[in-house]
């Protein structure tokens, strides 16, 4: 064997690779060259009979040749494969304009979402969340909150009563979340910063009232919190909640049996053209009731009103949700109408946070 021979063999084999018409023909070339009885394989076998010096030189040459041919075969094969794939893909197609397979999108009710928004804001201010029973007794719902028996303000509450219980007590459905104030103050020592969201009930059902609705109660008790803090805290809340940085608020004297002094807070709005808009537009919208916790309430909870003081506030969840999200009718909150739930509801992953964004 000589160098010329290997050169010739290379040329022949490369020509055969290039000339193969399809993958099967190429495979035949491969067998011819590199198969057990292939020409290069045959030459390899002959190496053993050669003198060591010549074997080394020739062996190297053969290896180079072998690699070169194998590479050529691979390249050619890849070409055939690519062509075959192209041919197959040419026959395959689907209508990608088809609608995708349905996946139900769940939603959260605006009441849940609003409660979480409120909790997120007050959470930043150091409030914790408490809850209490829907069924209450007269003491927690009225007496301890400074509604003495026979007080006219009791009648304003349109209370839903339960049938008398076995123990002779006439229990009721809480008319506000304020009884949880009492439970909180009786169960833990100040300082207290608590928000209490929950279901509340009144015997009233018309365009703007439902027998069940939701409130969130605020309670702060320590030795220093005064009406300036009340105003500041609520102002920060409404500005954050409604996303209006400079929203103006108005405080008006009012009356609640369980606060003294008592106030109602209004926020700026516009009602031009019958459309309600939150912002500093010259008109006012009542948003919540609040005040400094009444000394009789503190006393009922065993706290000395000359030492401890603080504020309480309460607002309607549905009301603030309606205002923020433009939901026109209170009654629809409780109708379970699926198109309504999907339209006014919130995505499962839409978790409100003050730092991450309250509202998408």
């Amino acid at each position: 064997m000589t160098t010329d021979n290997t050169d010739q063999l290379r040329e022949e084999l490369l020509a055969a690779v290039a000339g193969a018409k399809d993958a099967a023909a190429l495979d035949e070339v491969r067998v011819t060259a590199l198969g057990k009885k292939g020409r290069i394989t045959g030459l390899m076998k002959d190496l053993g009979a050669m003198a060591p010096e010549a074997r080394k030189v020739f062996g190297q040459k053969l290896n180079v040749l072998k690699d070169e041919i194998a590479a050529a075969l691979d390249r050619r094969k890849q070409g055939f494969d690519a062509a075959a794939l192209d041919a197959r893909l040419g026959t395959e197609s689907m209508d990608v304009t088809l609608p995708v397979r349905p996946e139900a999108k769940g939603t959260l009710h605006p009441i849940s979402q609003t409660i979480e928004e409120v909790a997120a804001i007050f959470g930043v201010m150091g409030f914790e969340i408490a809850d209490g029973p829907d069924i209450e007794d007269d003491f927690h719902n009225f007496t301890a909150l400074n509604f003495p028996p026979g007080h006219p303000a009791r009648e304003m509450h349109d209370t839903l009563f339960l049938d008398p219980a076995e123990d002779g007590q006439r229990y009721l459905l809480r008319t506000h979340t304020s009884p949880v104030q009492i439970r909180t103050m009786m169960n833990q020592k100040p300082p207290i910063r608590m928000i209490i969201p929950g279901r509340t009930y009144r015997c009233d059902y018309d365009m703007t009232h439902t027998p069940m609705f939701h409130q969130v109660e605020l309670l702060v008790i320590d030795t220093e919190t005064n009406m300036s803090h009340l105003r500041g805290c609520l102002q920060e809340f409404v500005r954050t909640y409604f996303g209006v940085e400079d929203l103006t608020t108005r405080f008006r004297p009012s009356y609640f049996p369980f606060t003294e002094p008592s106030a109602e807070m209004d926020i700026g709005c516009s009602r031009k053209g019958g459309e309600l808009k939150i912002g500093n537009h010259g008109d006012w919208l009542e948003i919540l009731g609040c005040g400094m916790v009444h000394p009789n309430v503190l006393k009922a909870c065993g706290l000395d009103p000359d030492v401890y003081q603080g504020f309480a506030a309460g607002m309607g969840i549905e009301r603030i949700a309606m205002l923020k999200y433009g939901i026109p009718d209170l009654r629809t909150f409780f109708e379970s109408d699926v198109p309504w739930l999907k339209h006014y509801g919130f995505a499962a992953l839409d978790i409100p946070s003050v730092t991450g964004g309250l509202t998408r």
Binding site: A104, G106, L108, S112, A119, R252, E260, F334
Partner: protein, 807 residues
């Protein structure tokens, strides 16, 4: 409470505008509900005079008026019959808004003649109904002047009174508050005694038992004879009408007027219809009284009546009686001015369901000095309007002592109210409100006036000072807070929130339904729990507290189906009620699915919802609520695996519970067709109820949030499939459990990939195809080891479930 501006000004000397008064009222806590100012709409309208009026050439009914505006002479076409030369009229020029239509007047031409304005009627200005002709202004009105200054309007102010403001029940009290807030000066009122011309032949008889004397502590009476009960003068009628009352006759109107004017209800009886002495007594049980409203009331022994010696003449402080009422022919009256116990009054009014202005005042508490002053003022008015002569006052009982001293540290205005204010200013405000202030030393002695029964402690005084100073002058300060907020939610609250969002992730729509429902529906879901009924339900459909969330969800799905939405998935997280006392409630996450798993679709792989969809919802909720799912056991409704605990509102054969030990954490399944029929909704529906508070909570948060180290194996896992034939009654879970327990250390994963029933398996048999993944940890498994594991698995299934390998 409604009153007119001139009425207010009869007590308040002020130069404030209506707008200023309205703003101040709201600012001191007398919230303005509405101000009706007819004059406000008259912008741009001026006084003009008709110089000439002649017939319109093209219309019989129209006149052509030459009108002097004071600045020029213009031509106006007018259809009013009274449009005549010399008349002073109200002229609207183009560009002015006409109050009745709200539209801007344009220049126009009527029947070919240009009209440069409009002469207005009362109706066009929304000042009345009169549209027969144009307004005729007084002859001395100045031509060219704005009409608003010429026509006499009395704006009506309506305020919302909070129940504590007993002092502002009368217009005078409102005026006092405004004066204190710097809006003018309170005028003096003449409440000096009217000299009696004779001794009343009728005496006062205080006939309440001693222990109930507080129900009417004082009764003041006076006879006035030779009166002429005429129609009230126009000013009085106008004020009553503005207040929403109907003028009746002068004597009655005076008592009506003083109820609103002073917050002092009085009553006048026709003296000729009375017998003997008058005074308060308890009603006899069952005693009846025909009241002024035309209704007859049956009274009980708790109630106070004002009675003569023959019968009850009125329900004390609430309403007079018809038989003793004054009429146009009355010539002699007996005037009553008394005090009543607010609580007793309120109870009587509630029991009898009478809402009168008198009750409204008395149950809030009137000024204890007012029986005498009220009687004097009323007498003076009656004598002025009706003539006659008054007897001396006759007085029974004594007014309760209202005097008290409140210890008040003025520094509290800052420490509670947040407002820095000089002591002198604090003192001045209190004194302007009628409080006596002894401002010596650090703690003052403050004595409230007779009309402020609502003021009890120093906190009330802080409110008075802030109220008059203006709440809007309280500087807002943020609550001081820690540099980093702490976690606001308890672990359980976070889990509830997470449960909600997990169910929403599963495609369910959260809803909120009533806590109550119809009693008949509740019965279907009550189980062992007692019926918790509402004594005064809003309607019979909502008369029982819900023992389960399912009926409301099923009804909701039914309503959606009725609107064509048959495929529906709802959930709610809320209370179910297990008893009638506080705390007898449980927090439940309930989900319900109706119809198909998806809408119809080209891929076509939707199916009717089944119990396992509900089970999947329950497992998702439980996992979100912190339950360890692998530790739970499923027990079927009727199956051999112990059943029990599955509520009766589920299909007995297609339902189950998820248990942790003996504790049922959730129930799920298809709803019972009979129950759905009773709810009048179409099935099938599937549902689950997850009892969130039953999910065990970790005792104490572990140190840190680090998780257990992940164990991995470098050796190849081996997957082997088995098909077991078992009786159809055997629970799949039992087979899977047997498999899992056969090689606890080696088996990493067990899956059920086929369930088959067919004739060649034999009657009552099914085949379960199970894949088992074996994961060695020490060395690659040998064939022998795999075989040994397989035979242990087969033996375990055979032993536990009677299963054999499928041939």
């Amino acid at each position: 409470m409604k009153f007119t501006l001139s009425w207010l000004k009869s007590h308040l000397e002020t130069t404030a505008t209506l707008g200023e008064i309205g703003a101040k009222l709201t600012s001191v806590g007398l919230e303005v509900e509405n101000i009706e100012d007819p004059g406000a709409g008259l912008v741009g309208l001026i006084v003009a005079q008709i110089a000439h009026a002649k017939q319109h050439p093209n219309a019989d009914r129209l006149r052509l008026c030459t009108v002097d505006t004071g600045a020029e002479t213009i031509q106006v076409v007018c259809g009013a019959p009274n449009a005549r030369a010399g008349l002073k009229v109200v002229l609207a020029r183009p560009g002015v808004t006409i109050p009745s239509s709200g539209e801007v007047l344009k220049k126009g031409s009527i029947r070919g003649i240009e009209s440069q304005g409009m002469l207005c009627s009362m109706r066009e200005l929304k000042l009345g109904e009169d549209h027969d002709g144009i307004i005729e202004l007084p002859a001395d009105a100045t031509v060219g002047a704005p009409v608003a200054g010429v026509l006499d309007f009395d704006p009506v102010i309506e305020i919302n009174l909070t129940p504590n403001r007993v002092d502002a029940l009368g217009v005078r009290g409102v005026a006092r508050d405004l004066a204190a807030a710097g809006l003018g000066k309170l005028k003096a009122i003449n409440d000096a005694p009217v000299p009696g011309r004779f001794v009343s032949p009728r005496k006062v008889k205080m006939a309440l038992p001693a222990d109930q004397a507080h129900k009417c502590p004082q009764f003041v009476g006076r006879m006035i004879r030779s009166v002429k009960n005429t129609e009230s003068p126009p000013w009085l009628k106008a004020r009553l009408t503005a207040a929403g009352l109907r003028p009746i006759s002068a004597i009655v109107d005076v008592t009506q007027f003083l109820t609103i004017d002073l917050g002092r209800p009085l009553h006048a009886f026709d003296d000729a219809k009375l017998t003997g002495d008058m005074g308060p007594r308890l009603a006899a049980p069952g005693e009846t009284l025909a009241a002024l409203n035309g209704k007859t009331y049956t009274l009980d022994a708790e109630m106070v009546v004002i009675a003569d010696q023959a019968s009850a003449a009125g329900i004390g402080g609430i309403m007079g009686g018809e038989p003793s009422s004054v009429t146009e022919t009355t010539t002699s009256i007996f005037l009553e001015s008394a005090l009543f116990d607010p609580r007793n009054m309120s109870a009587t009014g509630r029991k009898l369901q009478i809402n009168s202005d008198a009750r409204y005042c008395f149950e809030r508490g009137v000024d204890p000095t007012s029986p005498v002053t009220g009687a004097e003022i009323a007498t003076r008015m009656i004598l002025e309007i009706c003539g006659g002569e008054a007897s001396e006052l006759i007085i029974g009982g004594t007014a309760p002592d209202f005097s008290r001293v409140i210890a008040f540290n003025p520094a509290r205005v800052k420490s509670l109210g947040g407002v820095e204010m000089p002591g002198a200013e604090i003192k001045s405000i209190l004194e302007r409100l009628g409080f006596g202030v002894a401002a010596a030393g650090e703690v003052w002695k403050v004595t409230p006036p007779s009309w402020r029964a609502d003021v009890e402690g120093w906190q009330d005084l802080v409110e008075e000072v802030l109220r008059i100073h203006g709440y809007d002058n309280i500087p807002p300060i943020p609550l001081p807070r820690a540099p980093m907020p702490k976690v606001a939610l308890s672990p359980q609250q976070r889990q509830v929130a997470f449960t909600r969002r997990s169910l929403a992730m599963r495609g369910l729509n959260e809803t909120t339904t009533w806590s109550f429902l119809a009693g008949a529906q509740a019965e279907l879901f009550r189980g062992e729990a007692p019926r918790v009924a509402i004594a005064n339900p809003i309607s019979s459909d909502l008369d029982v507290l819900r023992p389960s969330l399912i009926p409301n969800l099923a009804a909701a799905a039914g309503r959606n189906a009725a609107r064509g939405l048959h495929d529906c998935g709802l959930f709610e997280v809320g209370p179910r009620f297990e008893g009638p006392k506080p705390g007898q409630q449980a927090l439940v996450a309930a989900a319900l699915r109706a119809g198909h798993t998806a809408a119809r679709h080209w891929a076509g792989n939707r199916r009717v919802v089944d119990a396992l969809d509900a089970k999947a919802d329950a497992l998702a909720a439980l996992e979100a609520a912190g339950a360890v799912i692998s530790a739970l056991q499923t027990a079927s409704g009727s199956g051999s695996s112990g059943g029990g605990g599955v509520p009766a509102w589920y299909h007995p054969g297609r339902s189950g519970v998820l248990k942790l030990g003996h504790q049922v954490l959730a129930a799920f399944g298809e709803l019972h067709p009979g129950v759905l029929a009773a709810l009048d909704v179409k099935g099938p529906m599937v549902a689950c109820e997850v009892f969130l508070e039953r999910v065990p909570q970790p005792k104490k948060a572990k140190a840190g949030a680090a998780r257990q180290l992940l164990k991995t194996s470098p050796f190849q896992p081996v997957e082997r499939d088995f098909a077991f034939v078992v009786d159809t009654s055997v629970a799949a879970d039992a087979v899977l459990r047997a498999v899992r327990n056969a090689e606890k250390d080696l088996i990493a994963e067990v899956g059920l990939f086929d369930v088959y029933e067919g004739p060649h398996l034999g009657e009552g048999k099914k085949s379960l195809a199970i894949s088992v993944t074996l994961q060695p940890t020490d060395a690659t498994l040998t064939d022998a080891q795999i075989e040994a594991a397989a035979s242990r698995i087969v033996a375990a299934v055979e032993k536990a479930c009677g299963g054999r390998l499928r041939a």
